[in-house]
Symmetry: C2
Subunit: 213 residues, 2 copies
DNA sequence: TGTCGTTGACTAAGCGCTTGCTTAGTCTCA
DNA sequence: TGAGACTAAGCAAGCGCTTAGTCAACGACA
């Protein structure tokens, strides 16, 4: 995760996320997505101008439209790829654990860590959602439901195997996701706690929230 | 809380919040704030036009500037009053309880309920914060620190009196606030759970998170 | 090998429209 | 008579996006 080049960590991780989305995407398109992610996270979708995105990517204003059909199309690509990598990571964490308790700990730790390391993308994904077109919203909503289902599944398994004590599974799943998602709202690279710290404490808190006593 | 008039509940509660902020504010200014709250919550600060706010309040575009110096000034008034009523409610809840456990339960339940009932104002307060001027941001940040302090105090008292078991007080306070604040993100009046349901389950989860076992 | 024709990435210029806010003036009521 | 609430009209600036055209890269073919 450390880097010996001059590239900032935030760019590194966004780059990795955007490149490893299972799409073949040109280098300029990736540069545009990184520029847009920076700008959207910083100022919000509507406060960001296409001229700003273009100049951050070293292009003229019209250059954006060679690679994306609209500003909203850029937002959608960021949202889709962000959700996909977050989901993939959750599924992998759930599959690797050998007990519901360990699965939940690893799930919430990983999701919290993702929202710290990718807090820019996380904010875009959560707060700019409403600016997507209805069709694009539907696509993203489907990905969100998959994420929800992973957490619920672990809770149901934990209850069945006697490890968890849960009154209301959907409500508890939502609370657990709140814990992790909200990290993107308050995290900043300047704070005392590292993404790894946050992952550890949130994973522990998650287990406390449902463990039989 | 129930109403026999045609006024929707959301307007009622926003109205009450905006009117009871300890300021003397004219009826037209309150109408403008309600219109702005609706619009900002719905589309975001930058996607909302002053013409939209004015027409929702039944005024011409220029009518806004009789009562507020700018669009940002309207956002600031909403943020300030929103934070103030949220803080006042927290302080009252903490003072009324007679044990740290009950204080925490009532704190998180009340804060969760507030973020459900005032989810519009809650979203504005959380997601439009960055669009405030630096000075206005400072004013609001001071209010946030007060809110943080109330939660930390209860945790410290609970640990001292042997009721709570907490590794990291600031981190746990943040997690507890995440639980409540994030309600504004996902709550909608159409969902199954009522604000009272959410308050009850979140209060219970909060206690679980810190209770000695 | 040389030179076409094509394609894709990109830019300079700018169009039509909307934005936040101002100005000059009207109306109401104490 | 004068102060405050409000409007009609509009200004300067900035917006998303398009148009028309440049330029380098490249395969096809005489």
């Amino acid at each position: 995760m450390a880097t010996s080049t001059g590239t900032p960590l935030s760019e590194q991780s966004i780059l990795a996320t955007l490149e490893d989305s299972g799409d073949t995407t040109g280098a300029t398109a990736v540069r545009l997505m990184m520029a847009a992610a920076d700008a959207f996270a910083d100022r919000g979708f509507h406060a960001t101008t296409t001229r700003d995105i273009a100049s951050r990517a070293g292009l003229s204003p019209a250059g954006v439209y060679v690679h994306f059909t609209s500003k909203e199309d850029l937002l959608f690509e960021l949202s889709r790829r962000g959700h996909q990598t977050a989901r993939d990571q959750l599924v992998a964490a759930a599959a690797a654990a050998d007990s519901p308790t360990e699965a939940l700990r690893s799930l919430i730790a990983g999701f919290s860590r993702w929202h710290a390391e990718h807090h820019q993308l996380g904010r875009i994904v959560q707060y700019e959602f409403r600016h997507l077109t209805p069709q694009h919203r539907d696509t993203v909503l489907a990905l969100r439901k998959e994420i929800d289902a992973v957490v619920r599944d672990v809770l149901v398994r934990g209850v069945a195997e006697g490890e968890f004590e849960v009154d209301d599974v959907p409500a508890t799943a939502l609370a657990l996701l709140s814990l992790a998602v909200d990290v993107a709202r308050w995290y900043s690279p300047e704070i005392r706690r590292t993404p790894a710290d946050i992952a550890r404490t949130n994973g522990e808190l998650a287990v406390r929230l449902v463990a039989r006593r």
